[in-house]
Symmetry: C2
Subunit: 407 residues, 2 copies
Amino acid sequence: MSLNGHGPERRDLRIAEMIVTPVACPDPPLLNHHGVHEPTFLRAIVRLRTADGLEGLGEGPGGGLFVQELRAAAKHVIGADPYQLERLRVLIGRTPRVFSAVESACLDLVGKATGRPVYELLGGPVRRRVPFAAYLFYKEEGDDDWGAALDPESLVRQAERFHERYGMTVFKLKAGVLDPWEECATMRLLRERFGPKAGLRIDPNAAWSVETSLRVAERLRDLDLEYLEDPTAGIEGMAEVAKRTPIPLSTNMCVTSFSHVASAYRAGAVQVVLGDHHGWGGLTAFRELGVVCKTLHWGLSQHSNSHLGISFAAMIHAGAAIPNLIYASDTHYPWNPADIVNETERFTFRDGAIEIWDAPGLGVTIDEDKLAAAAEAYERRGSSLARDDVGAMRERNPDFLPLIPKW
Amino acid sequence: MSLNGHGPERRDLRIAEMIVTPVACPDPPLLNHHGVHEPTFLRAIVRLRTADGLEGLGEGPGGGLFVQELRAAAKHVIGADPYQLERLRVLIGRTPRVFSAVESACLDLVGKATGRPVYELLGGPVRRRVPFAAYLFYKEEGDDDWGAALDPESLVRQAERFHERYGMTVFKLKAGVLDPWEECATMRLLRERFGPKAGLRIDPNAAWSVETSLRVAERLRDLDLEYLEDPTAGIEGMAEVAKRTPIPLSTNMCVTSFSHVASAYRAGAVQVVLGDHHGWGGLTAFRELGVVCKTLHWGLSQHSNSHLGISFAAMIHAGAAIPNLIYASDTHYPWNPADIVNETERFTFRDGAIEIWDAPGLGVTIDEDKLAAAAEAYERRGSSLARDDVGAMRERNPDFLPLIPKW
């Protein structure tokens, strides 16, 4: 096809091969309401290859069931054109995390074929520095150099280290672990330590009743939180809390798909949604969530689960391209001792932010040795079940139960 | 940049030149609540060129003010990269129709540079045949071969002609012209003539009061309308009607931007939004409107104003790519005696639908002679003001006033 002599042939990008590699990666013993992170977290790496050997990368949650679903999607993926995402979304979008891993690899392919970074395929960058929050966890002593953090003071030392190493000035506490009043004391110490400009968030994963949530909100009222994330369970519970506190409520638990939006809006359940490309069905869907949030006058923030560099690159592209993503994004990445991509130097935080790069696609490539080692670690793990924080905690304390509400 | 030896250089697509050409094109004397179409309708054609001569096309409403705004946008457009749409949206998006014309030309450029049709840049086609509705107008006798249509019987003959020529089986009546009871009689005749499977819509452009709207709705209740479009003015007025009729209400008047959505949703004002790439701020924004509508359980249809082939191509690409655009789209195109693009054979209706094509970008090119003639017609027109249906009607009847409500 020639246009004024300038147009190229339409390049055949149809997907000829789909390789799914489940991996296990070291994880510190981070605590949350559900228990404790197991020694490894699981991910699945997707590689889509065209007939002429161009490769696109995707990453999603791990565990045998997800890997099975991902492999089952291959019958729709093989032969598909990576530009034609909507038909793939319809065919495999029933499982948004499966579609997301495939979509990421498709966008990586298109980016590489056109010499364009993924953020340009999402509308282009509106910011070149993508800010991240320090994700603070109460934790046990582990095979890491972070040490234990089981009370307010040691948690603040962890935050100081995040600030010193990465320049972060926004802090999110994973709560629902200690007694709520100790967690409130932790928040107060953080405010005292980092001053009035620091961004503060607390997220007990719905471990509190409505009444406890309201008492916590009162206790934290003068701390100028960015938001209180999922204090309690469910749209109606959140709405009861939202009615009676001026602190913005955020969620990645009661609004986790487009189908929850209308009810949550009518109920007045939340003010901020934490989206992500994994759970919402791809980078394009996360971008669309941004439009929905803006339209409903909701804020938008970015949620994280334990992840490797392919997902991190995608999160950074999203952060650069989604206009109303003005909150610093969550990421578990600093907790990882290792990665399976080569370009880890891209993930250098300066003043808490990561600068985007100009490489085509996602801008990361596989370190084959590291991938092979992580795949071997998955096989060695002996079980293909997903991460089980509850089980890991019950090995320490057979009576442990992640009650909702717990307080 | 080489990736496994397969990646291309990033091609420089920065915009070096922006040419805006206002045009005037013949228009039949179609009637509406505001008056009558003038003998010409105005459009503005945008051509964006890269340094190496690739050209992207856009089209927007005409008239001097719009042309001035479009030309004023050049300072942001020149030097911009056509992939980086979000920053252009922020810089010139205050006037969505200006951004839309530029965005269309940017997508045309990207499509030509990659050998991909615009619908692939919007997520890929979910349908290859894009259905359109016959846009029925009461009209005067004119310089066209359609004849006058000033009562129910002649309007139904017009519909028969649409059906015979184009195979259309969905009919939209532009109402607000005759007494509402005559317009109801027209709808009943259409249902009798085309049987129970035909799609029927009526749109008086908010010419009716709430009470008249409800009486009309009762009179049309057994006709199984697809929707009743803008019977009355404003979100609150529409909500009053919506409460008391089972006929779905649609709008392109009370919800015309994302900022109207939240209030309209809370009020329960509408069930279907007619969006379009012109008014909503580009093809990407229209696609996003689709996500918002789906999220709020609203239907989505496509609105039309008088337009030429560049806009029509864009509307067809949108129709192919937006998943929940399941209503037949509106178009004024069959009313045009002429166009300024070469590829008019693409716009051949079969069974009321247009089949998408595989050409890169929008898939249309300028017929330079026809463009020059239409530009000359604009200059000859003597006024740069936008189309004035009210003024044209007041030349016929000096007492004409487009009252809202009129009935």
